[in-house]
Symmetry: C2
Subunit: 415 residues, 2 copies
């Protein structure tokens, strides 16, 4: 048997035990993990140093090296994040629906753990702890498959987690790390339908696309955000400038930042030049249609490709449109169903836009940057789902649960 199938089997057995654990038992384990991370800080730093050294020797970019790096502050932050999970409500056992039948049957739909989650992710060691503890809090077992560049860090972190679980009543086997980081082990996870209840990729668009395209295991897709703001004819100019600059520049590298701006022509004629100048002052490169380039001479001409590009950096594509309908059509064609916004004083246009745009979060007169599990008050975030089944938008702990019907009878049979 392969490493993947052996460890998935152990995880499955552990998942059966995890289902039975109480909130207090799970929280105790989280507390032990947080303490273990702090206590074994030196060990974690020295193992992480091996990955950094190898990474530099292998020519990884400074960006990747930065994501790979653990320091004392980062480890303490990771431990603090684990402790924050303790105070969150445990979704397991929550009653979602009750049905009382005339024949006396009592049917209750409750939340239960999903079972075994597979996580495929890139060179961020913090994801190892994050994924493991979110799964433990929700009564699941997890099979972790990180990248080869972080293997020493991941082994060390899972070592700390295992030593903490040993002191708890949770099964150690609930957290499994696949140590063979070859392509083959990822492929094996893609089709492990008997062993995994869900597969969650965490990382860049390429990784997520690969998992979605190849996996027959159900996937929780978190993903790309080619987000738009549409400035309607009646938008308040001061508000529009504030929101657009925020949504583009407050943190351009994240998925809920905007990549594209649609402006009603009538508004653009009056206020477009001022807005584009402000964006430029904020360091943003503008790629516009002909009308935009006419308004603002330092804008570059946008290509067809620009409309579909998630820059994740200080670039924005800008297009003028004749109507809210045209804006919606453009978004349906180029958007990624993540976060979209309309700025308007016309409530009918807002209602139309919010119904017609098929995205996880659709805003009226606010920045798209709020699409986030913490901003929504969920206290934790598994990711932001851009798929439509199971969970959509910011996913809190309930996204890692399933449901079950519990039926209580007194001898009822079907006639």
């Amino acid at each position: 048997m392969s490493e993947v199938s052996v460890k998935a089997k152990l995880a499955k057995e552990a998942a059966d035990e995890m289902m039975m654990k109480t909130t207090a038992e799970k929280n105790e384990a989280l507390s032990l993990i947080a303490n273990g991370l702090r206590k074994e800080l030196d060990f974690l730093l020295s193992e992480n140093a091996k990955d950094i050294k190898n990474g530099k020797a292998n020519g990884l970019t400074p960006d990747v090296i930065d994501r790979l790096t653990l320091d004392e502050k980062r480890i303490r932050d990771i431990a603090d994040a684990v402790e924050l999970l303790i105070d969150l409500a445990d979704p397991v056992g929550e009653s979602l629906e009750t049905i009382e039948k005339e024949n006396g049957l009592f049917i209750e739909k409750i939340r239960v753990p999903l079972g075994v989650a597979g996580m495929i992710y890139e060179a961020r060691p913090n994801v190892t702890v994050d994924a493991a503890t979110l799964c433990l809090k929700t009564g699941n077992a997890v099979v972790l498959r990180g990248s080869s560049s972080a293997i020493h860090s991941n082994k060390a972190l899972v070592g700390v987690i295992h030593r903490a679980l040993e002191k708890s009543v949770l099964p150690i086997n609930a957290v499994q790390l696949i140590e063979d980081t070859s392509r083959e082990t990822a492929k094996e996870l893609f089709t492990l339908n008997d062993g995994l209840d869900v597969l969650i990729p965490r990382g860049g668009k390429k990784l997520i696309d690969l998992v979605v395209r190849e996996s027959t295991v159900p996937v929780l897709e978190t993903g790309a955000g080619n987000c738009h703001i549409f400035i309607d004819e009646t938008a308040n100019p001061e508000m529009a400038e504030r929101i657009v600059v925020n949504a583009k520049t407050q943190r351009p590298s994240v998925c809920n930042a905007i990549e594209s701006l649609l402006i009603h022509k009538a508004w653009a004629e009056q206020h477009g030049k001022e807005l584009l100048t402000q964006l430029e002052k904020a360091g943003v490169e503008i790629r516009g249609d002909e009308f935009v380039c006419g308004l603002h001479s330092s804008s570059k001409q946008a290509s067809e490709e620009d409309w579909g590009t998630e820059y994740l950096g200080p670039v924005i594509s800008v297009k003028t449109v004749e109507s809210v309908q045209e804006a919606v059509q453009h978004i349906q064609k180029y958007g990624t169903n993540h976060s979209e916004a309309i700025l308007t004083e016309n409530d009918k246009h807002a209602a139309y836009f919010q119904t017609a745009v098929d995205a996880a979060a659709v805003y009226h007169n606010a920045s798209t940057r709020f699409t986030d599990g913490f901003e929504f008050g969920y206290g934790a975030e598994i990711g932001i789902s851009t798929q439509k089944l199971h969970a959509r938008g910011p996913m809190g702990l309930p996204a890692l649960t399933s449901t079950k019907y519990i039926i209580k009878g007194t001898g009822q049979i079907r006639e």
Copy 2:
């Protein structure tokens, strides 16, 4: 472009229109479809006759010919079922959650249509109408891919639906039938991730397994039921007999009928012989372990294969166990996570069983035959999900919806 990609594209465009339709508009279309089916009864019968003739010439079994056959009563029943959908609550637009943030943002989570559903199914023409109308009621578009043996019936039924939609304000393209029923078109649907939001197989275990194993599009798996009843030491003998006979014999061909019986040894010693005799009298063949064969001489010896077999007929496997824990372990090993029951007067054992058994529906002192969308009061049933993501157990209309966050602001930006 292939037939599948052209029709999926048309369905996608129609889905964007369907999102905007009101409950009244959707219900009007359903009413027109029901009337159309009744009005074009003769046409439907004559097209169906072609499939029956071909089927007989191709040597289809009487069972399959029966499932393929439409007669006046069946068509009227199908039309009546469409009309029943009209009275059901429209899940689209339902508010599931509201969040008010300190900064004044108002966040609402509402139900929205899924988009485009793909349906792959076998020789039952009634599924064509059932799938199409369930999707229309929930604001979705649908791509239907039935079997070659029902192609004349399916084309005729979709023709009736299209003529009805023409009179309504819904887009005709919301219902697409793939006329090429070769294996290639099924395969194309399996990987049409850009075109389909969900793929729903309806039919036997082989078809469902194929779709689950090959599809990278998210699947709603409805499926096999290797259901058990465990008779605990303290079970009421009269109740046990009534429930077991009902769960096995009331309709043995369906997925929520039981296939396997687990009996606590102490109970079996006292009441086993009587129960097995009653089952035999009801026409059930018994395949038991050694203890069972000792109790009841006409029982056959069960093989390892029997524990994992869904007979869907008048056969039952019977095993004796020493404890509720052993029963749970057996069910976790051989069950299909569908419907499982414990019969006991011991509430602690019932609670343990209902927590530890990982199935869509877990019963205490009632027949497993109640796992059904109509019995649960949902008024419609897409199928009974045996997967854990998105929906589990009997699926009513909400299983064909997704969610969306609608956020209303007054200029808020992220600090």
